[in-house]
Subunit: 269 residues, 3 copies
């Protein structure tokens, strides 16, 4: 899959050169880690969630990342305000529906954001993504496990329905817009032992969308890059504390050539 690998490398080079401003309205747990990851990979993070400034600030950004972890009515309202402005400005919006698979407030908040703004990409685990199905609005327990393969078909239908590219991440990531489907094999088991890893992968998609208009290739490239950083970190560290630092180091040190060589894509693209 040479072509997509090369595009991923080009995206990373563009990211390092343009240092796009990424506006994040994200949860309190992953806020620091997200900002550090974006800085390390070469982007410029902006973390701002106040209702009276998000519309102004998002106008400076090249992508808007909305993450509903640790939600509140006020934060969701800020996300919708910022999202409407981003829609108006044609700025890509990336949504992370954290916990939408288990909590009703989170699921309904994610649905409100999708309904009121033009979301380009949604990234979550299978349970989170599948909770967004309109004809199946019921809570799923946290233990609901869906393999990427089980989820692939319904994800494609859902992607077409809500006109967004979907990324279902897990041991093997799935990216689909309903027409094209790409699988990304990069990653490392220790990533599941660091809080906010999923949130940071979503922000990484935001950074790649800021330099690549093709939602599917940008999303797949971002996930390959982030997964490869996990692999590199896993070569240096054998436990989650040192792994977390090593992952940030890898986001900084991986070159476009490393990414072209290390990215592992499968699928029809």
């Amino acid at each position: 899959m040479l072509k997509l690998s090369e595009k991923a490398a080009q995206n990373l080079a563009a990211l390092r050169e343009k240092k796009p401003l990424i506006h994040n309205i994200t949860n309190f747990v992953a806020m620091n880690y997200t900002a550090n990851a974006l800085l390390a990979m070469g982007a410029s993070p902006m973390m701002a969630h106040a209702e009276n400034e998000v519309e102004e600030l998002v106008s400076y950004a090249s992508a808007l990342v909305l993450n509903i972890g640790t939600p509140s009515e006020g934060r969701i309202a800020s996300m919708i305000l910022a999202g409407k402005k981003a829609t108006e400005l044609n700025t890509p919006i990336i949504l992370d529906p954290v916990g939408a698979g288990v909590g009703l407030f989170r699921m309904s908040s994610a649905v409100r954001i999708i309904d009121q703004t033009r979301v380009s990409v949604i990234r979550g685990n299978a349970s989170e993504i599948l909770s967004l199905r309109r004809n199946d609005l019921k809570t799923k327990g946290m233990d609901a496990i869906h393999t990427v393969d089980e989820a692939a078909e319904i994800a494609g239908i859902l992607a077409s329905e809500i006109q967004a590219t979907l990324a279902i991440t897990g041991p093997m990531d799935l990216v689909t817009d309903g027409e094209r489907t790409i699988r990304v094999a990069n990653g490392h088991p220790l990533m599941g032992y660091v809080t906010g890893t999923g949130c940071v992968s979503t922000a990484t998609i935001g950074a790649f969308l800021a330099v690549d208009d093709d939602r599917v290739s940008a999303t797949a490239a971002a996930l390959a890059f982030f997964g490869l950083a996990g692999e590199k970190a896993g070569e240096k560290a054998a436990a989650p504390g040192s792994f977390k630092s090593a992952l940030i180091d890898a986001l900084y040190t991986i070159t476009p050539a490393d990414l072209a060589m290390g990215a592992r894509f499968e699928g029809n693209h």
Copy 2:
């Protein structure tokens, strides 16, 4: 003290196997570190504090950890909502009265939580724990220092009064329910140089209570495990930045056998 060491090891093995979901309503400073520590030791952290979701979400959890650092009226209200639900469901509640020894809002908030929910364990330093005495509701300066020995007798009385197990941590930790008293000698001086160490030890108690119904043994085991992780980290790191990462690593790598061998308990249990 062979018996308790073995129970501690059993608890750790059960924690790794069951990966219990621990619901944390905690302060903004320690939120990320707490989630990472719980993941590293083998538990599943859930960080959620919105009033309109805590009752729903706590129903999935095996323990509820309430931490009043960086408080606000809204957050205390969420803690009480979640706490009432946990009480109803018989889910153990662990309270960390951060700063109750120095701030009146914090002290009164801690008292409100204790009055309106059934708290199983309260962990704090001597000043925080002793501030909860009803017949002595006056502010204490942050410099108020009480040795664990000075505090032991009054802690026993207080534990019986409020029907909770108390853990007063310091160079030597004290655990008492008014009848049984255990001292835990594990720990390392650099733990005092990392913010949120106390908060994480409270969350660790939550994780152990999720697999052990005996409040006193679960609390003592958790403190021994966490203190031992500090000792292991101190073997790897000589300054607080690298120590913080090494502590997370140790929570992941310490085996039940390590804990059985390294736990240092004293007292009548």
Copy 3:
């Protein structure tokens, strides 16, 4: 510049001995890193922002650090409450006008704090500091770049106007109260790749002001110390993840003698 270097060393020794309590009302991104940095250097951080406790708690503190990153109306109100109390108690206030150069809400919030409290020191980048000029209240884009040299003259005028010591940080830091001007050459490029570095340098100024009444020397000493920690970290780490930990380590291990030797000051003081 032997004299100022020696004063810097004295300040650090005093900080380690007195362990002053530093009250921080700061943003959610940098909160944990700020608390860890203050602990590592020898101070005692207090992180508290609730409107109903900041007045009480600031009375225990030796300095108050106000940081307007991730602002909201409520947080700014708390900052003004705490700031008024600190003004009354003659406790030094240090302001970090994060993003005042780009966002109108932030700029007006910084101006309100300056108007309603007696701020001792303001630290920011050139764009943030220069946005505080009264006769030029218009938004500047994030790309507005001013060299420290370009900014020096206007900073001196501004410092006199608002009767605060100003610290404009960048590759070469500038400290001025309108009469005395000191430049600080310490620092490392990787500091720009760790989120919250500026916020932590502001908190470091707070810690030094707690032990040195001379605003200019305290500020310059703090920036030299923090920049030197960056240099030491840069000797150990080549990427931002490990650099972040190494910086905290350096704040803990740098001795007063190291600081006297490593501080690089220039100017008329």
